[in-house]
Symmetry: C2
Subunit: 343 residues, 2 copies
Amino acid sequence: MKTDKIITIYDIAEKLKLAPSTISRGLQDNPAINPKTRKKIFDTANEMGYRFNTFARNLRNQKTNMIGVIVPRLNSYFISAMLAGIEKELNSAGYNMLISQSLELEENEVKYAKAMMHNRVDGLIVALAANTSNLDHFDEYIRHQIPLLFVDRVIENEDFNKVVINNLKAGYDMTSHLIGQGCKSIVHLTGNLMRNVYQDRKAGYQKALAEHEIPYEEKLVLETDLTEESSIKAAKQILNMKIRPDALFVANDLSAVICMKVFKDAGLQIPQDIAVAGFNNDISSRISEPMLTTINYPGEEMGKIAARHLISQINGDSDLTLTNTIILKSQLVIRASSLKNNI
Amino acid sequence: MKTDKIITIYDIAEKLKLAPSTISRGLQDNPAINPKTRKKIFDTANEMGYRFNTFARNLRNQKTNMIGVIVPRLNSYFISAMLAGIEKELNSAGYNMLISQSLELEENEVKYAKAMMHNRVDGLIVALAANTSNLDHFDEYIRHQIPLLFVDRVIENEDFNKVVINNLKAGYDMTSHLIGQGCKSIVHLTGNLMRNVYQDRKAGYQKALAEHEIPYEEKLVLETDLTEESSIKAAKQILNMKIRPDALFVANDLSAVICMKVFKDAGLQIPQDIAVAGFNNDISSRISEPMLTTINYPGEEMGKIAARHLISQINGDSDLTLTNTIILKSQLVIRASSLKNNI
DNA sequence: TTGTAGGCGTTATCAC
DNA sequence: GTGATAACGCCTACAA
């Protein structure tokens, strides 16, 4: 009896000599429907191979149950953890997730923000691309009052909702720790300084230096894209510095571990010759040798909280209009790669 | 002039004293429309804050431009690489991507397969959950002739389209390599043997042993879920074996690197005391010490090819009904962790 | 408890 | 080149 024809509630209605509205109600478990009728409806629907059409419902209900997510990349440990968190929360709240990656390009971010708007997502979660400078592509969300939430890579603007960690404090803690280990010449290897995450970590680095009266030297801050290749290049650059620094603080674990490897291959001892620290508490920080000192960065948790917060906004939970920034805790995780004192 | 009211082509039509159909055509760059009219339409649309409704179009056109993707997990290096590949191809072909993670549970896979069906995805890409045994949840796709493609974690059944690597050959190559390095007692640490990827790798392992007349011992095959914890446990179990094996072949790089770390912490030398090999050519295989021998596994490429193949199916490219299995090349990558001979 | 009718926003077909 | 109209599949007042 099942065919490949697309079956609608009208077909079921016709077969059962009922009205389409009755079918609709029956399929929705509307209590007004006679249980026997309901059973008949379900049975017939199965038998005929009926499949529900979410689009028609969305069109009618002006709600899509879809949340858009735009991230810079998918193939990053931190971002996948965050997405996993978002996905878990969204799905348990009955939402689907529409994902796009900007590949760190503003141009793509604009394109996808538009596409998601046209797809009538009920809300949007964004981690900004490296080079996004203009935020006009989010204006429509504001105007149409579609809940919008930035996560991790956010914008300074007070008007936007965001979930972040305190990158300044983390950068400060890490740098202070290195100074506490006796380091005086600390290189900071970081990503695009247009982004809060990198800018704030650098600010923390500077603040710690200042507090300990270590002069800040611009040439000790290396801004790269933190890819595998750039990291290798940066590490070599550090090896070639006239006065070799005694510590390296990298804004990303993977990059830190890669640098560490280059140093070791060049015959340096870590942390004796140079202490190394990362950021994120990626798995890579635990498998490196020595294990990497880092900042524990709650990716999955951030995702979950972001999703929950967005859903609350969608549901119009009133008191949330006030809290527009959620700051999660991050912790300094001290491991062998930076422990000069205890050797 | 912009308000938060939802603007439709009717509103634009009314304002311009034109018919809605004219607006629709204008917005679609239909050549039958007078350029001046078109300009007026676009200007008014912008001015009024019009946003296109994809749902209405989908409903009307019976096509969603959406592809569903169900993967076991998001926070895995290999899977994110694959997703990145899928995403790139889909987006450049004008498709959006709807993602869900089964968290390795059949139950979730069933749920999401249904949800995606109701969302009327134009096609579905699946990497099976660890414990999926029944495939009935894909029947509807077949019946409604919705293109369906399995990737990496596939099913033996001839009727399904799939993109895979030759896991048997890869497992065979790796094991042969280890044997060639003089190893005679090789432990194989693997994932759920219900899944082709693990079963085939094991079959390759067995084949290589047989060819070299090394008896296969069941107790040397450890089946786990390959998580960080399980890997540590497995490594300890290996350390406690009465006769310590001289090689370990793990079905996954991350797990291999973790084992290696446990071995080193116990004072073993790698590869002298025990050779270690992984699978995937994850970044972790390159940052470990020593670097890990592995199988290069083209995640992003697999994703791209899967997406392209699916799109071809959607477009009804005829000759594709024949090729229903695409096998990608994988290569043995020999690094220090297994090189006993050249030391 | 079930039926009737209109609308969600778009597009395709057929007129003019 | 533009307009009128029906249809996509579902939902919800309102009526019976």
